[in-house]
Amino acid sequence: MNPAVSPPGIYAGIANGLAVLLLLTEFAMLRAALLRAQVRLYAAQSLLVSILAVVVAATRHLPELYVLAGLSLALKVIVVPWLVSRMLRRTTTEIAGSGALGVASEVLVAVAVAAFGFFATSRFHISSPALPTTALGLGVAVILVAFVLMVVRRDVVSQAIGFFSLENGVSLVSLVVAAGMPLILEVAFLFDLLVAVVVFGVLMQVHHARSESLSTTHLTRLRG
């Protein structure tokens, strides 16, 4: 143990705390059975990303990040969850289809994957002036758990939410290593996400209209 290492300051503590909460919401999504609960968890996670952006903006004096936080709040906390829950209200399904694994095994797999992501990232020695690098490992862990969510869940809503939360993980990573990215690019990324959400919504509705359910278990005709 190197005695010269100073304990993390308040800023680093807050930032790491928020990043840990982000990862925990991802785990909560993994075990949420109600589709509406998943959408709410996604909104909460997006809110955490926005708060983190504000914290970074205030401490590191990056005023563009305020705009980004505001846009991300409007889009990912309000518009996207609203679109998805509006679609959910039209369907009668409330409970997510059972996953490919039991909840306990899902969480175990996710813990293993998250730990792998966290420790593997620290090997890359990427350091950043904006945020402590612990947050980078946590961001990668969020992305990997989001993949687990998309793989094990068997309904279109969970899979789509998995993809959206994957994007939250990427946002966290980008706050760490690319906080100074020009605003115009960040806005373009967000706009792109909005387009993707609309297309996901359309295809979810197409799927629901054709199969009368949100489950993907019977999507097995095309193979070979």
Binding site: H125, A188, L203, R210, G224
Partner: protein, 486 residues
């Protein structure tokens, strides 16, 4: 020249806006005009890009981007012609007006995003353009509104978006790598990243490159992230299948090439080449095996696309200048050959009302024009002389041997031969095996034959004698990719 860049990125949008109005005839005519105009503009860019990189605002064209533009613009024009005949058979639908409106809106937006991707200057904008190609083409895959189309579209949008999530991560890591040299706020344009060269942090660039190959590789159709590809290609309307296969995969490969260019400038060429060789050989192996036992005509061609994307990755991975020139030529001739093959397959499917290879019989007796053209397209895809793919694959193989990559080159030749076996067995069965006459002799539409004749002309021209300007363009592209700067 800057005006050409602006026109290329606005004309398809104009066609899309007109398509929104829902006048089918007007959309058809305008899409055709815009397609041909874009092809003309892309060709006009060739001499300029061979010696210079014209740019304006955030648009920029260099030799590599123009190669991909040519393939995309050609297929846009060809698909515009083909669609006129293709939609004629849909006219009986009660919702035809709506179908045609969505079809033309989608096709034009799709073409626009694919033309924009090679023209934007910067990795961030490139990611955005590729993401737009995904969402637009996913809707096009779902257009036919059958159970299979809905399944294919869902798988496609989910897998491709997840892949592009990885691609976004690659973009951000590359941003981080660049920011250590270019400062905290810069726009990820190509020139500063290439100029930074070895000063970029190596681990970060390595990470970004692998993430980019995996992420954009999802859209290229590289093993093991190719699984959406056969579904989407087989369920999309045929003109869209041709554009997916000939242009979309290539445009995503363009993104991989840009990362390759930066990574080999920073890390030296050996690491990125090895990564591409591994992905390329595995994709080729998988595709060759699936081609042997494929029952569905359009899936057959889709796996052939996986095969050809594997060849592209291997060609870059071999690293010899001759092989790299072969890859650039391969992008264009593959677009023409795969376009022809899908157009021909579309006519066969229309005529026999099935995609099952075992049900389609005596094609040569039934379709006097399409069947021979389809046969020639398959022979071209199998790299038979005198077609362009013979020249490009010959260059790749010769380059591989010259660079002393003997083992990889032998594997390449063997697997391409296996793939040829699969393709040719299925094709000869469909065209030559006599069967009960189930459909009347005759072509459904001359509009569906014309683009195949154009594609054949391109294939023969590029196979026998590529124009000098194009050779200059390839030479410039090769030197750019070998680290000659921009």
């Amino acid at each position: 020249m800057p005006v050409v860049l602006i026109l290329l990125t606005t004309l398809p949008l104009a066609a899309a806006v007109v398509s929104l109005l829902g006048r089918t005839r007007a959309s058809q005519a305008l899409t055709l005009v815009m397609g041909l105009a874009c092809l003309g503009l892309a060709i006009a860019l060739v001499p300029a890009a061979a010696h210079d990189s014209p740019h304006t605002g955030f648009l920029r064209a260099d030799a590599i981007s123009v190669v991909f533009l040519l393939g995309t613009a050609f297929l846009y024009a060809a698909a515009a012609v083909y669609s006129i005949g293709y939609l004629r058979a849909e006219e009986h639908r009660e919702d035809f007006a709506r179908y045609a409106r969505r079809f033309y809106l989608g096709v034009n937006l799709f073409a626009w995003s694919m033309l924009a991707a090679p023209l934007v200057n910067g990795l961030a904008l490139l990611w955005i353009a590729v993401e737009i190609t995904t969402v637009v083409s996913a809707l096009l895959v779902a257009l036919d509104n059958t159970d299979n189309a809905a399944e294919a579209a869902w798988k496609y949008v989910l897998l491709a978006s997840a892949g592009l999530g990885i691609g976004l991560l690659a973009t951000i890591v590359m941003y981080y790598a660049g920011s250590t040299v270019a400062g905290q706020s810069y726009d990820l344009a190509f020139a500063p990243l290439l100029a930074a060269g070895t000063r970029l942090p190596h681990t970060a660039v390595q990470l970004a490159f692998v993430l980019a190959v995996l992420g954009f590789g999802t859209k290229v159709g590289l093993f093991p992230v190719h699984t959406w590809l056969p579904d989407a290609h087989s369920e999309a309307p045929t003109p869209v299948s041709a554009m997916l296969s000939g242009s979309l995969l290539a445009v995503s490969f363009y993104a991989v090439l840009r990362y390759y260019q930066i990574a080999s400038g920073t890390l030296g060429a050996s690491f990125p080449r090895t990564v591409l060789l591994v992905f390329g050989v595995l994709s080729l192996l998988l595709a060759a095996l699936y081609l042997l036992e494929q029952r569905d005509l359009k899936r057959l061609l889709a796996y052939s696309s996986v095969e050809h994307m594997g060849i592209l990755a291997i060609g870059i991975g071999l690293g010899a200048p001759l092989a790299t020139a072969g890859v650039l030529l391969h992008v264009i001739v593959h677009a023409a050959a795969k376009g022809n093959a899908f157009f021909g397959a579309g006519v066969l499917v229309r005529k026999y009302r099935t995609k099952d290879v075992a049900t389609i019989r005596s094609g040569l007796d039934t379709l006097p024009w399409t069947a021979p053209l389809f046969l020639l397209a398959i022979l071209a895809l199998a790299a038979m002389p005198p077609f362009g793919l013979f020249r490009s694959e010959f260059q790749i193989v010769a380059g591989g041997l010259a660079a002393a990559h003997n083992a990889v080159t032998v594997v390449l030749v063997v697997l391409v031969t296996v793939a040829f076996l699969g393709l040719s067995v299925a094709t000869t069965r469909m065209l030559f095996t006599p069967g009960p006459r189930v459909v009347a002799r005759g072509e459904p539409s001359a509009w569906m034959v014309a683009p195949m004749l154009a594609g054949l002309a391109v294939l023969v021209l590029l196979g026998i004698h590529p124009p000098a300007d194009l050779a200059d363009l390839f030479a410039r592209g090769v030197s750019d990719l070998a680290g000659g700067g921009t």
